[in-house]
């Protein structure tokens, strides 16, 4: 990731997505955006703002409420040479589109023996906070990782958001592009020009040697905070952002684990059959027979997301609990170490409705 320089400036994650979309739409006529409310003045949290004014309603298509058809329409158009970007305001709505995504889009290239290509991006946003509750806060990355034929990417920084979206749009496969509502307002240095962040390459966001912490999507932000807490107790955590979940860069993770001997995986999602289970299993398969590694997964509590804040706060792993888990893992037992309290301003300051 670049340091600030003449060609970069600080913009938000949402702006980075907007910019990647705009630049590619200018460059390539076949790129278009479709989804419920994409031309709405609020522009899906700013990520699609002004695109319809610039490119017209044929290329920024406000759709009827029809997620399954929207997905089929996108894949059909992609077979005709277009490059659709479908947008879902909530990832939960993708459950209405599983048939078209998994039975059709993911399989078309293979099932037709390579005769057709289905380049399409499906953007979706994981919700959180302010009583989003059961049906507006799901994080279903593992469903898509499970299925061959799909690629899955979940960038956490504005830099990676722009570059990964560019790579996704240019990719010739169906790509599930996962955002998190609590990341949209984050700012970071982003180059003005087009660039790609490649699939299958993890990023070490913080180097360290005592414990490896892998954080997915918004959990990454909490992991960085946890790493700072651990540092106050002289524990040096290496924090890795996989960015791309399918394909997944096992090698970078394994190299880190071989160095630290300890692995804490924190997903922004449920752990059962989740991304964290996959990463843990891959590490076992790769490092077994070598040195002993301590491992732990964290994620959403295995319950439905409640709306009331007092329970919601317990539902998500926060930096405090992550730091504590890391510490205890390292010590090999439950300790009474208490981490510094780290603030999570993006959550505390977020106010409804959405």
């Amino acid at each position: 990731m670049p340091k600030s320089n003449i060609n970069t400036r600080s913009i938000s994650y949402a702006e980075a997505i907007n910019e990647a979309t705009r630049q590619l739409m200018s460059q390539d006529e076949s790129v278009f955006v479709l989804g419920i409310g994409v031309d709405d003045p609020r522009g899906i949290y700013g990520t699609t703002s002004n695109l319809s004014r610039e490119f017209g309603q044929d290329r920024v298509v406000n759709m009827p409420l029809a997620e399954d058809a929207i997905t089929g329409i996108a894949s059909g158009s992609s077979m005709a040479g277009m490059r659709p970007i479908v947008v879902h305001e909530r990832m939960d709505f993708m459950l209405l589109a599983m048939n078209q995504l998994i039975n059709v889009a993911a399989k078309s290239h293979y099932m037709y023996g390579g005769a057709v290509k289905v380049p399409m991006v499906v953007r979706s946003i994981i919700g959180r906070s302010w009583g989003q509750g059961a049906q507006h806060s799901q994080a279903l990355q593992s469903f898509f990782m499970h299925v061959p034929g799909l690629k899955v990417i979940a960038p956490t920084t504005p830099y990676d958001a722009k570059g990964a979206l560019v790579a996704s749009i240019k990719d010739d496969n169906p790509v599930i592009f996962i955002e998190h509502r609590m990341l949209h307002n984050y700012k970071g240095q982003v180059p003005k020009d087009l660039y790609s962040v490649p699939f299958g390459k993890a990023r070490i966001l913080r180097a360290g040697h005592d414990i490896t912490i892998v954080g997915i999507s918004h959990a990454m932000v909490e992991c960085i905070r946890a790493a700072k807490s651990l540092a106050t107790s002289s524990i040096s955590a290496e924090v890795i952002d996989p960015i791309s979940l399918s394909p997944l860069d096992v090698q970078t993770i394994c190299e880190s684990v071989e160095k630290t001997g300890n692995l804490l995986i924190v997903d922004n999602g449920w752990t059962t059959c989740g991304a964290s289970a996959e990463i843990m299993s891959l590490v076992i398969e790769n490092v077994q027979g070598q040195d002993k590694v301590n491992m732990k997964r964290m994620g959403f509590e295995f319950v439905t997301s409640p709306t009331t804040k007092i329970l919601e706060d317990l539902y998500y792993p926060d930096s405090r609990r992550i730091a504590k888990a890391g510490y205890d893992l390292l010590m090999g037992k439950e300790t009474d170490w208490e981490p510094d309290v780290q603030e999570s301003p993006e959550i505390d300051e977020f106010k409804g409705p959405f």
Binding site: I36, W130, G131, A134
Partner: protein, 317 residues
């Protein structure tokens, strides 16, 4: 029935409709006022302007009749007799809420009053309502189910799947579309090739009708008639598209700024009813509602937040 009797029945009904509508309007306006204090940490979708539909329809239902609705559910919940304290506490995220603080504004429920739930995912309660009606039918229970949903919901595939099933099985149910012409900021004409929803429903072979008035009494009469047809003649299902108007933003407490003027044809139901009700009656209603609302807010404020271990409760029955 004598003419006078009929007239006095109608007066009573109008009074009740007025009271129900005034009460709901007042409660929701109060919610809008409280909202900026951040005590309600839940996305609220207000029905202000469009209460006539649920108020009118529910006036024709018995307590054992069942309704399903959407995230825009305060009005339905209250019109069907849902407990106000439980609703307020739920909005405040308290343990005394109807869902123990786990559901919030979008998932109101009161099974004792036949309010079987509301969903934040558009159109999802439509087939559930049909399933409930199917149960009524095979269990030979003399009640009906009413499914409430917006104009946007009629674009979802499951709407069509359910209409076909309900008509095929002649289910004891009524579909009520609250057509406020908008899905968030998107007008019906941007989303539907034929904006006449009642016409689209009619091809499934059921009685289907558009009601233009946004008037609770008209809606009451239609739903009452349909309910009788179902109970007495075994007919069903029925479909009503009720034209109405939402005054506030899609979600949140603010007035709309996305449309300059509201449709001229659609009148404010509260103002209309107000003309038909005596001022004595109104004064009483004002007082009653004021008191009830104060108590409910007090109840919500005073109630405790859920205990931490309740996070793990009710995942499985």
């Amino acid at each position: 029935m004598k003419n006078e009797n009929r007239k006095s029945n109608k007066t009573k009904l109008i009074n009740n409709l007025y009271k129900s509508l005034y009460r709901i309007r007042t409660i929701e306006e109060k919610i809008a006022l409280i909202y900026p204090t951040d005590q309600i940490k839940s996305p609220v979708h207000l029905s202000i302007g469009q209460e006539a539909v649920t108020v009118g329809a529910c006036a024709a239902l018995l307590e054992a009749d069942v309704v399903f609705g959407t995230y825009r559910g305060h009005s339905l919940y209250l019109a069907k007799g849902g407990d106000l304290n439980g609703m307020m506490a739920e909005l405040y995220g308290k343990s005394t809420g109807v869902a123990g603080g786990k559901g919030g504004s979008m998932h109101l429920v009161d099974t004792n009053r036949g309010i079987m739930g509301m969903s934040a995912v558009v159109a999802t309660t439509i087939p559930q309502a049909a399933g409930y009606a199917y149960a009524f039918k095979v269990m030979k229970q003399n009640n009906i189910v009413v499914s409430f949903f917006g104009d946007g919901a009629t674009e979802e595939g499951v709407f069509h799947e359910t209409l076909n099933f309900a008509a095929l099985k002649k289910l004891p149910m009524i579909f009520v579309c609250e057509n406020n012409q908008y899905a968030v900021l998107s007008h019906q004409s941007e989303r539907q090739s034929n904006t006449n929803i009642a016409e689209r429903a009619s091809v499934y072979g059921m009685h289907s009708e558009k009601i233009d008035q946004n008037d609770p009494y008209t809606i009451y009469e239609k739903v009452n008639w349909a309910r009788n047809q179902i109970i007495e003649k075994g007919r069903g299902p029925f479909f009503f598209e009720c034209m109405t108007e939402r005054y506030r933003e899609h979600v949140g407490p603010s007035e709309r700024d996305d449309i300059k003027t509201l449709s001229a044809e659609i009148v404010d139901p509260l103002q209309q009813l107000s003309k038909l009700v005596s001022s004595d009656f109104k004064q009483n209603v004002f007082k009653e509602v004021d008191l009830e609302l104060k108590q409910a807010i007090n109840f919500a404020e005073k109630s405790a937040f859920p205990a931490k271990d309740s996070l793990y409760k009710d995942v499985y029955a």
